[in-house]
């Protein structure tokens, strides 16, 4: 009887120890946990992009109104010519640049800008360009 009880106690001890020592599965998967935050960040990002697009901005905005060769800006910038000193001259130095909000907005404006197809067609016709 005694030896049976001893074996019994030994087995129970093993079971208990095994149960404690075995690693538990995580309560919730980390990626699942992070998902709502990611979604929120992506939504925010999209909203920001839409906002920027609506704004237009810079000289990309309202380009459609400008035609021909002359503009006030051309006059203004005609003398703003030489500024080569201190310009980034390597991929490393360009890579080190931290773009400002205005730089990012300029990219958005660039993306949002398009010339209507009939105007491009007129431009090609004026230049006697016969595209295939």
């Amino acid at each position: 009887m005694k030896s049976a009880l001893r074996i019994l106690a030994l087995v129970f001890s093993f079971v208990l120890l095994g149960g404690i020592a075995a690693p538990r599965p995580p309560a919730q998967d980390q990626s699942t946990q992070a998902q709502p935050a990611q979604d929120q960040s992506q939504q925010g990002q999209q909203a920001e992009k839409d906002k920027k697009k609506k704004k237009g901005g810079g000289f990309f905005g309202g380009l459609k109104a400008v035609s021909g060769s002359g503009s006030e800006q051309q006059e203004a910038t005609r003398t703003a010519g030489s500024k080569s000193a201190g310009e980034p001259e390597s991929g490393q130095s360009i890579g080190d640049v931290t773009p400002s909000a205005a730089d990012r907005q300029a990219v958005s404006a660039m993306e949002g800008y398009s010339i209507p197809a009939p105007e491009v067609k007129k431009f090609q016709d004026d230049g006697l360009l016969k595209s295939k």
């Binding site: 009887m1 049976a4 074996i7 019994l8 087995v11 093993f14 079971v15 095994g18 075995a22 690693p23 599965p25 995580p26 992506q42 925010g44 990002q45 920001e48 000289f59 990309f60 309202g62 380009l63 400008v66 035609s67 021909g68 060769s69 503009s71 051309q74 203004a76 910038t77 010519g81 500024k83 080569s84 310009e87 001259e89 390597s90 991929g91 490393q92 360009i94 890579g95 080190d96 640049v97 931290t98 773009p99 400002s100 730089d103 990012r104 300029a106 990219v107 660039m110 993306e111 800008y113 010339i115 491009v120 431009f123 090609q124 230049g127 006697l128 360009l129 016969k130 595209s131 295939k132």
Partner: protein, 290 residues
């Protein structure tokens, strides 16, 4: 005398308990195995993603970050008429590109250096210095078409796809806003690779071939790029600064190949419009005063 447990109960009790213990341990082992399996699956998915071609969305994310750095470094040239003109010429040659799913965008950078850049996703830049070096619209068309050729040929994209570390950055970037550490780091690596180390000579020759093809198909004389390259070579010999001569194959080699293509295709288009007058009128702001 103590009562004794029946011999049969004692005999069966131990094996039953042992089986019970084994079952409990098996349950835990199964949970552990499940975890290992899940981790392995996640890793395999990541590897599979890293091996897969970049999506257009990923390409745009990368291009947007690189473009922001170009603009941050040189600033846009604030001339809407000139920007419109460059977009007109750019759109004309880009319409001939094989990648119709891309929207191409063109801008002028306010730099004296003689450069043109492209970023994945359809972003093309030309510097004020490069515009000043062009003598007619067909040369500008050739330069822009060469850059469009890089985008159409996915030359930079292939570098990212080959570089697993860079690619991991793109994957992570999906969950981050523009300017995230991942995109920042990856675009920096990309700029160093493209501008300091240079693309493979084969990629440059390919962009030349594509550029010549697009310009010709758009109605320009096909040799505009070659004429520009000859002037670029001379300009850099006289102290002009350009990434093109620093990292690209030698101009004589490039022009020889362009010449071979034109001859092989029998493109007798020397009578096509070079549009020097229109170009001069549109770009007078960037031309040095006589």
């Amino acid at each position: 005398m103590k009562p004794r447990m029946p011999l049969r109960a004692c005999r069966w009790g131990v094996p039953i308990l042992a089986v019970f213990a084994l079952l409990v341990s098996a349950r835990d082992a199964s949970a552990q195995f499940g975890n290992i399996l899940k981790k392995a699956t996640d890793k395999a998915e990541k590897v599979q993603k890293a091996m897969a071609p970049m999506t257009l969305q990923e390409e745009r994310e990368v291009g947007r970050e690189v473009s922001a750095k170009f603009i941050g470094a040189y600033h846009l040239y604030p001339d809407s008429a000139l920007t419109r003109y460059v977009n007109m010429v750019g759109s004309t040659v880009a319409a001939q590109s094989e990648r119709k799913e891309i929207s191409y965008h063109f801008a002028v950078l306010d730099s004296d250096m003689i450069n043109a850049f492209s970023a994945p996703g359809g972003y093309v830049f030309i510097t004020r210095g490069a515009l000043a070096l062009c003598e007619d619209e067909s040369e500008l068309a050739g330069v822009l078409a060469h850059e469009v050729g890089h985008i159409a040929g996915k030359h930079v994209i292939h570098i990212v796809e080959r570089d697993k570390a860079m690619r991991a950055g793109v994957e992570e970037a999906q969950t981050h806003t523009p300017g995230s550490a991942y995109l920042e780091n990856m675009s920096k690596k990309m700029l160093i690779k493209i501008l300091d180390q240079g693309l493979a000579p084969g990629d440059e020759f390919d962009a030349d071939q594509r550029g010549v093809r697009y310009a010709h198909a758009a109605g320009y004389p096909a040799d505009g790029l070659a004429r520009f390259l000859t002037k670029l070579d001379q300009a850099t010999e006289q102290g002009g600064k350009s990434f093109w001569t620093r990292t690209h194959p030698p101009v004589p080699d490039r022009n020889a190949r362009i010449g071979q293509t034109i001859s092989a295709q029998h493109w007798e288009d020397t009578d096509r419009p070079k549009l020097a007058e229109r170009f001069a009128a549109e770009t007078k702001a960037v031309k040095p005063k006589a």
